[in-house]
Symmetry: C2
Subunit: 312 residues, 2 copies
């Protein structure tokens, strides 16, 4: 047991959370969301993706979003970049941290970014060289770390191999993603143990989708191995909102609630984060996917009712 005392949460709601929304979310709402998140104690908020609007129309306003958010000192606002074009646009507006992404599954990489894993690394080289020259930090994502929608099982060794290459190319942190949320705790541990043989655990993050409701159990298992960075999205934004079964990232609120119970500090004010979850879900016109949000909001409303009662 090597439970960390402190966990860094990387808020991915504004990017991973919103990217699949089919109705365009006003740019002002995205900016307001990030500005509010900047006020509750995060050190990292993934802001948007410098990707072609043909791929992800929802984030077509990436330049305006990045330029308009209030950049608070001490907070990093990484953006996803798929290629040199994205990087150049990002550098032009002063981005200080980027995230690059590939997968541990050949088929997924082909279908997602239309190239082999090997080719994805070839594409990274100029991106990484240019980012390094501009003094921009680089985070790496490995998708399908616990399973692939096309290939099914993924070997822990395949994840370790891709993670190691990202590490050797200079990524300061590699986020291991259960993209389709199929993992369970033992599988999570085996995968992390395999990666940790090659990459220091301090340079790794966990990125769990909650499609099968397993995200918190997997995170607990990962904490037992000493993993101390997790990606999550406020109110569980993400997935495909119109397909009932496609959950998003683990909800930041639920993660913080668990971590508080484990005496693990995150620096984030849960009570204020609840309001942000409620804010963005009202804008999206649907209930929060964070059980902690729903429970705490219900509790607050009950308190209000009781107070009314006392004053009658």
């Amino acid at each position: 047991m090597k439970f960390p005392n402190r966990v860094k949460i990387v808020e991915v709601g504004p990017r991973d959370g919103l990217q699949n929304e089919s109705t365009f979310i006003p740019t002002s709402t995205k900016i307001e969301l990030i500005n509010r998140l900047s006020d509750v104690g995060y050190s990292t908020i993934e802001a948007t993706s410098f990707v072609s609007p043909k791929w992800i129309p929802q984030l077509a306003d990436h330049t305006e979003v990045f330029q308009s958010i209030k950049k608070k000192s001490g907070i990093s606002y990484p953006v996803l970049v798929p290629n040199m074009k994205g990087l150049e646009e990002a550098l032009a507006v002063g981005v200080k941290e980027i995230a690059i992404f590939t997968a541990a599954s050949e088929t997924f990489t082909q279908k997602n970014i239309n190239c082999s894993i090997e080719e994805s690394f070839q594409r990274f080289i100029p991106v990484i060289d240019t980012a390094n020259a501009a003094n921009v930090r680089i985070r790496g994502y490995v998708s399908c770390a616990l399973g692939c929608p096309f290939e099914g099982e993924i070997l822990p060794e395949s994840v370790a191999e891709v993670a190691t290459r990202l590490y050797e190319l200079g990524c300061y942190e590699i986020s291991l993603g259960d993209t389709i949320g199929v993992g369970t705790p033992f599988k999570t541990k085996k995968m992390i143990e395999s990666v940790v043989r090659k990459v220091p655990i301090a340079s790794l993050a966990g990125h769990f989708h909650d499609t099968y409701g397993q995200a918190l159990a997997n995170i607990y298992a990962a904490l037992e191995l000493g993993l101390s960075v997790f990606d999550s999205s406020v109110s569980g934004l993400g997935g495909c909102p119109y397909a009932q079964g496609a959950s998003g990232n683990v909800a930041t609120e639920d993660l913080i609630y668990m971590l508080q119970g484990l005496n693990i500090d995150t620096g984030i004010d849960l009570d204020r984060l609840i309001d942000i979850g409620t804010y963005i879900c009202q804008h999206l016109g649907r209930p929060s996917r964070s059980k902690v949000n729903l429970a705490i909001v219900a509790k607050r409303e009950t308190k209000k009712c009781q107070m009314k009662f006392y004053f009658l």
Copy 2:
């Protein structure tokens, strides 16, 4: 680490799951639900509660439900009994197992069953004597094992004390309930460790509500201590369906999915259980609260679409 190889799941959907539904569910639906559950591999299905209809109008049909379900050999169908009147009614229709209940919180016990913890044990004595004389097995519930809506924190020692008394009175199994779903993994472990000093772990069960989304992480932590019996409800039935924040029991489907990933056998056919979750949620007119149910149903529908596509 003392992970069990096999876990017994006590399905509490028909009782704990349905008891708070405000619209009366037809008796025939309750019977059909239990009959379907009897077909997928459970060894224990809590059928109903022999409680006054004034307390729980939804289960006013307890006698008819118990009499009408097909009782499959090898399956136990326990019913809740709050007092001698309930026991007598239950014995009259041939009940072979009962569950008695109290709490680790004085205030909760007062508000829930209108007596002190001590008085609840006084009431148990004739119930237990009569049940023993009739060769009826007795299961015990301890509510508020990880927190109380009125008192807040509950000492692990208080849970251990109540559980020990139930054990000494002859309960073959004591179910430790996180009634309001506030627990987290360390708290869960401390509580179980405290109880296990006095009651053998083989005589204990965990009963986790998912109000704050922590149930599976808590169950994983409990499994690490060797706990091998868990209560759950199909599709997460339970809680208060009209208060957004009041989740029910952990969903049986999500629990089985995790256990399968841990190579822990339950004897239950998950695929067929999905259909039962869909069946009862359609009757209740709302989506399943099991993420595994939603994900697998969505996957099946996608498959059907693909098949259609191939045939075009």
